[in-house]
Amino acid sequence: MIVLERVFKSFPLDDGRSEPVLSDLNLTVSEGEFLAILGPSGCGKTTLLNLIAGFTAPTRGRVLFNGTEIDRPAPERAVVFQDAVLFPWLTVSRNIAFGLKLQGLKGKNLDEKVSRYLAIMGLTEEDGAKYPHALSGGMSQRVSLARVLALKPKALLMDEPFSSLDVDTRERLQEELLRLWAARRTTVIYVTHSVEEAAYLADRVLLLGPSPGRARTVPVPLKRPRNRRSEEFLATKEALRGGFPEPLCCATFRHSPHLEGGFRP
């Protein structure tokens, strides 16, 4: 279970003042839940994810994971970054082996596990011998998922993981993610720009408005598997769009292409 208690996060500005990004945020994510974080660019989605990952500490307030305060990154809270962030000097297989080795796995056990996760993510042994520069965006993201799934994380923190991929690849990876999530019941926190993506994937959506301190969560009342073209789905999307905690100053945001599930500029 992930708990945020009155979390406040600000960044110092050059002129000595500081800019609040998150203010007084309370959030509880239960085990096995799929939570999407939705909001316009710059509203603090990545900042929030970084707090839970343990990359940064809150200015005030507490972030707890299963009752203990998060003070550093750890494999139990694995992160999938927007652009994969693989180690360019390691082959795909060795990228996947990186975390496993740190858990003390070696020799045949290690090789077997790497092969298994290559296969789970739909990658071949030949792909495993490649260096990251030779991969397509979709393949990189598969590797980046494989290397964290192999560590059996309790929570999966994903920062717009599929947003730079084409629609086909994105939808295919979304399906695979849902399948894995259903099989393992890992907690997933999934940052996105896209209302459609949030509505399709999540149990619940955290709507982060452009001004700090105005956030709320909205449940997604849809059964799975979901149909992107059903009436209810479209209604849910509308409800999410209209559900932001403040009249979105940016009418631009409401109608921005980001939120239509389309391409980012």
Binding site: F55, R72, F87, G99, V148
Partner: protein, 265 residues
């Protein structure tokens, strides 16, 4: 014709052009100034004679070659070790960087030969003065390049490693170091050229008694210009060999596999 050009290695073309220009210069000098100027052929023949054991400034070419190489290797090793260690340390420790990062920048502005008085005051005329000049001149470009690379290591790579479970040691040796390797290699490459040039210059000035630079100047005193030119050719060939064979091979084994040049843009 262009097809023929394309088949030749790049360096062949450059060498042909260079030899042609040299040849023309030799003819021109003879014609207009009435002074014999060693042609490429004469130089090549003299180089062969020297290689066959002809005496040059009191020793065989091999003695000079060996003592230059020994000096160079010692000086360069000192510069490489201190430059790389300094760059890595200052890249990791903020306080060290703030206190010292301008020093190599200043050193970079001092031409190699300007160290002669300093070296002689510190060590007197002789071997150690030469080594000092080599080391201090090659240190700066190596330190600057390594520090630049170390400071700019992508924090996302470090974060990715941390969330996969890496501790400080793994982070340094398995992420920070390989991520800095491109800058280390390019620093070494620049330092190699610098130290080789400074070595030859130092031998010319400090009067080392042996060495390619020393014999180049000695041959000139005795108006044996062909031998001077043969020394220049030897210096050039050896420098070329180091650059191509040593550094290029290192790069090919690492950087090129991680991201081939053709794809870097």
């Amino acid at each position: 014709m262009t097809g023929l050009f394309r088949k030749m290695p790049k360096s062949t073309l450059s060498i042909v052009l260079l030899l042609t220009a040299w040849r023309l210069a030799a003819e021109g000098v003879l014609l207009f100034r009435g002074v014999p100027f060693p042609t490429p052929e004469e130089t090549f023949l003299r180089l062969l004679e020297l290689l066959a054991g002809k005496n040059l400034a009191g020793h065989s070419l091999y003695v000079h070659l060996f003592s230059s190489l020994r000096r160079w290797a010692t000086g360069f090793a000192v510069a490489a070790a201190s430059g790389v260690l300094y760059g890595l340390a200052a890249g990791r420790v903020r306080a060290l960087e703030r206190a010292t990062s301008e020093i190599p920048q200043f050193l970079l502005l001092i031409p190699g030969l300007a160290w002669v008085p300093v070296a002689i005051l510190l060590f007197g005329i002789g071997e150690r003065a030469t080594l000092f000049m080599i080391a201090v001149s090659a240190f700066a470009p190596i330190a600057v390049s390594v520090l630049g690379g170390a400071k700019n290591v992508d924090t996302r790579l470090l974060r990715a490693a941390q969330m996969l479970g890496a501790g400080e040691g793994t982070l340094f040796f398995h992420v920070f170091l390989p991520a800095t390797l491109p800058s280390i290699l390019s620093g070494l490459r620049i330092g190699l050229g610098t130290s080789w040039r400074v070595l030859v210059a130092a031998e010319m000035v400090v009067g080392s008694g042996t060495g390619l630079g020393y014999s180049l100047i000695q041959a000139r005193w005795t108006l044996d210009y062909a031998s001077s030119f043969a020394c220049i050719a030897a210096i050039c060939l050896i420098g070329f060999f180091f650059e191509r064979v040593l550094i290029r091979r290192l790069e090919r084994g690492t950087l090129d596999r991680w991201a081939p040049v053709s794809e870097k843009g």
